[in-house]
Amino acid sequence: MAGRSAEPVRASVRHPAAMSGQAAARRAPFVAVVLLIIGCGLVALLVLNTAIAADSFAERSLSQQIEQLQLREQQLRQEVSAAHAPAALAQAAAEQGMIPSGTSAFLVIAPDGTTQVVGKAKPASRQPPAGANPPAAPGGNG
């Protein structure tokens, strides 16, 4: 017993070192897990941040693309509406050699299927009464 009792005394003298060795061995998995979690967390955070940043770059480039396409659409709409304006149409038609028609005749279809021509169709004249003026003509008269 004396020998045995001597042991604890010696052990108690060496207590801190002995305990830390055993405890460290027992805690190693826990520490590893914590480290792993921290590590994973950090990596995940990094990945997430990178992803968000990458997305914001992608978003920016896509918004720019949208903006470009919108401007292009706007330009095309502008061209269409300009070409659609009556003055532009009249001019384009005149360039094709077309002449504004005078009075038109109508084909009236009765309920019984019989047809009747109403009005007098006249061939358009080469010198239309008012049609040949270019769109800016009103200003030219000033």
């Binding site: 914001s56 770059f57 008012a130």
Partner: protein
């Protein structure tokens, strides 16, 4: 000292041998005291540090955080698109596009000459013209505005120091001249200055939005940081009752009429008979809505609603309407009409000399006899004549949704001079707008019910909700029978013996009335040398009217008649309106007109 302190333990046994040394060593090596002092110092420093920390984080923390956020926060104003102006078929007459302004900060420009040379071809100006702007005092000057974004992009790609771009809106008028007087135009700040742009400015203007976000190093928004978006709300669209194609045709027709010798201006308007809606209106010469600055200011109005004319014989219709409605005459009532008649201090005479003729009432209109009309007016009386003039809307603005509409001038009959009582029946001494003139005939064409003319059909909100404009209150001007008699009598004008065979349209029955009024000479405030107004107002088809057209041709130096120069304008506009809208001739036979007792 430390060396002494460290060496002290081995000498413990010789304490008594070196009493002086021991005393000094004890004093110097008291560890508690040193620890205390050290602790105090450390604590003091820590206190200062933590105090400062509390001050920075706690007390001033908000301020610094705000300042930092201020650096990162970027506010972007989002301009709201101005609403469109559409014609009745939805064709855009005015709309806004995104544009760019290019500005310079002259203080930042180190090489103005090189900058000007680089910008000149892109801005399409002379480099010399840019130099004064680039070397100006101050920190901001516009170099050009309303540019296409692609041009601005090319300029920004040059990376010239001191040159920047701003986002703005530009108003586009794709039809340019067409309907410019109705639509109006906007100023640099996108505020309407004329026409519908002015009248409906509040409706067309949107509410600008704002985007606030935190910006990182390269101007990128920081993800998941403060971000607030208040979207811009675009303005509402205004849809007019105008027909773009008819409007174009009308403008061409009046431009052609404007080429007649001595003509200064021509005005015309087309109304839909059933609804009173304006389908087209313009006065020559007009202007290009995308470049209103190129003409003088007095040309920028809408003369059809703001310019008054004396209508001449077109006004006879009202006198006849009153006489018919009061039962004084029927279309076949015969009157013996001389070629002149003394009224008060003046002598009224017909446009042509003749022996007394047995005219029917129809003949008085068909041949446009002044004397016959005045004889009828005398039977009607001034008070009733004024009442009928007012029933046809004269002397009061129509209330059309356009700025600067004129009431016209109709003096109460109690204030009529003797000569005015003699001339108002055939349209001198009374003033009206061309729109009022058309509106009078709309009532006749519409079975006696006058629907005040309107030009805005509806307002379409940015979310697509449609708000129809309140319909005008129709009011009966004359009885249906009276209107039918008048349509018959007015049809005689365009037929054999009438004053306006040129207003005839092949296949259709047309009714109308010519007018040739003396124009006051602004120099002498008298009629001498003032020239004439040639007018025409009419509708077709006469037996089922669809469109009313009124025309006025002002000729300070000409003497064309309503039947010779105004009627052809009517024909070219009306035949287009009928054909383009698929109005087939009614196919009914034209009645026989008895103008004088000599007619069978």
């Amino acid at each position: 000292m430390s060396a002494t302190g460290l060496s002290s333990p081995p000498h413990r046994t010789g304490r008594s041998a070196r009493p002086r040394r021991r005393t000094r060593r004890l004093r110097l090596s008291d560890p508690h005291r040193r620890v205390h002092v050290g602790l105090a110092v450390v604590l003091a420093i820590l206190t200062i540090i933590s105090g400062r920390l509390v001050q920075l984080q706690g007390l001033d923390g908000m301020k610094y955080a705000a300042a930092a956020e201020e650096l990162r926060l970027t506010t972007l104003d989002l301009p709201a698109a101005r609403g469109q102006i559409l014609d009745r078929d939805g064709n855009p007459l005015a709309y806004s596009v995104e544009a760019r302004a290019i500005f310079a900060d002259p203080a930042m420009i180190t090489a103005p000459g090189r900058t000007a040379l680089a910008l000149a071809p892109l801005l399409d100006v002379n480099a010399d013209a840019l130099m004064p702007l680039l070397t100006k005092e101050g920190r901001f000057v516009y170099l050009d505005r309303g540019l296409n974004p692609s041009v601005a992009q090319a300029i920004m790609a040059l990376e010239l120091p001191g040159i920047g771009e701003l986002v703005e809106q530009r108003r586009e008028y794709p039809a340019q001249w067409t309907a410019a007087q109705v639509i109006g135009f906007v100023g640099r700040d996108d505020t309407g200055l004329a026409g519908i742009e002015d009248q409906f400015n509040d409706v067309l203007t949107g509410t600008p939005g704002q985007l606030v976000y935190e910006q990182g190093r390269f101007g990128l928004p920081i993800p998941a940081a403060t971000h607030s978006l208040q979207a811009a709300v675009p303005g509402s669209d205004v849809q007019l009752t105008l027909d773009q194609d008819l409007q174009f045709t009308l403008e061409k027709a009046i431009a052609v009429a404007n080429d007649n010798p001595g003509v200064s201006t021509v005005q015309a308007v087309v109304l839909d008979v059933a609804t009173g809606q304006v389908l087209a209106m313009a006065g020559s010469p007009g202007y290009d809505a995308s470049d209103p600055g190129s003409v003088s200011g007095d040309q920028l109005g809408n003369p059809v609603v703001s310019h008054v004319i004396e209508p001449g014989s077109v006004n006879k219709m009202v006198t006849i309407a009153g006489a018919l409605e009061e039962g004084l005459i029927t279309p076949d009532t015969v009157m013996n009409v001389p070629d002149h008649l003394a009224v008060s201090d003046i002598v009224i005479s017909d446009a042509w000399g003749h022996d007394p003729i047995d005219f029917t009432a129809t003949g008085i209109i068909g041949k446009s006899s002044n004397v016959g009309t005045v004889m009828l007016a005398q039977r009607l009386g001034d008070a009733r004549l004024e009442e009928y003039l007012r029933r046809f809307g004269l002397g009061t603005a129509t209330g059309i949704e356009l700025p600067a509409e004129s009431d016209g001038i109709l003096v109460p009959h109690t204030e009529w001079s003797g000569s005015q009582a003699g001339t108002i029946p055939f349209g001198q001494g009374i003033s009206m707008t061309v729109l009022q003139m058309a509106s009078m005939y709309q009532a006749v064409a519409n079975d006696g019910v006058l629907v005040p003319p309107r030009i805005v059909d509806r307002v379409i909100g940015p979310d697509g909700t449609v708000r129809d404009q309140p319909a005008p209150e129709p009011r009966r001007a004359i009885e249906s029978d009276t209107a039918a008699d008048l349509r018959y009598m007015l049809e005689s004008v365009t037929n054999e013996g009438g004053t306006a065979p040129l207003a005839r349209i092949d296949g259709y029955r047309v009714a109308g009335k010519t007018g040739t009024a003396q124009r006051p000479n602004p120099e002498c405030r008298c009629y001498a040398g003032g020239g004439y107004w040639a007018t025409f107002a009419g509708f077709a088809p006469a037996d089922d009217p669809r469109y009313v057209i009124a025309i006025s041709i002002e000729q300070p130096d000409g003497s064309g008649h309503g039947g010779t120069i105004a009627a052809p304008v009517f024909t070219s506009i009306m035949s287009f309106a009928l054909g383009d809208n698929g109005v087939a001739p009614t196919g009914t036979p034209t009645p026989e007109f008895r103008l004088t007792t000599d007619d069978a």
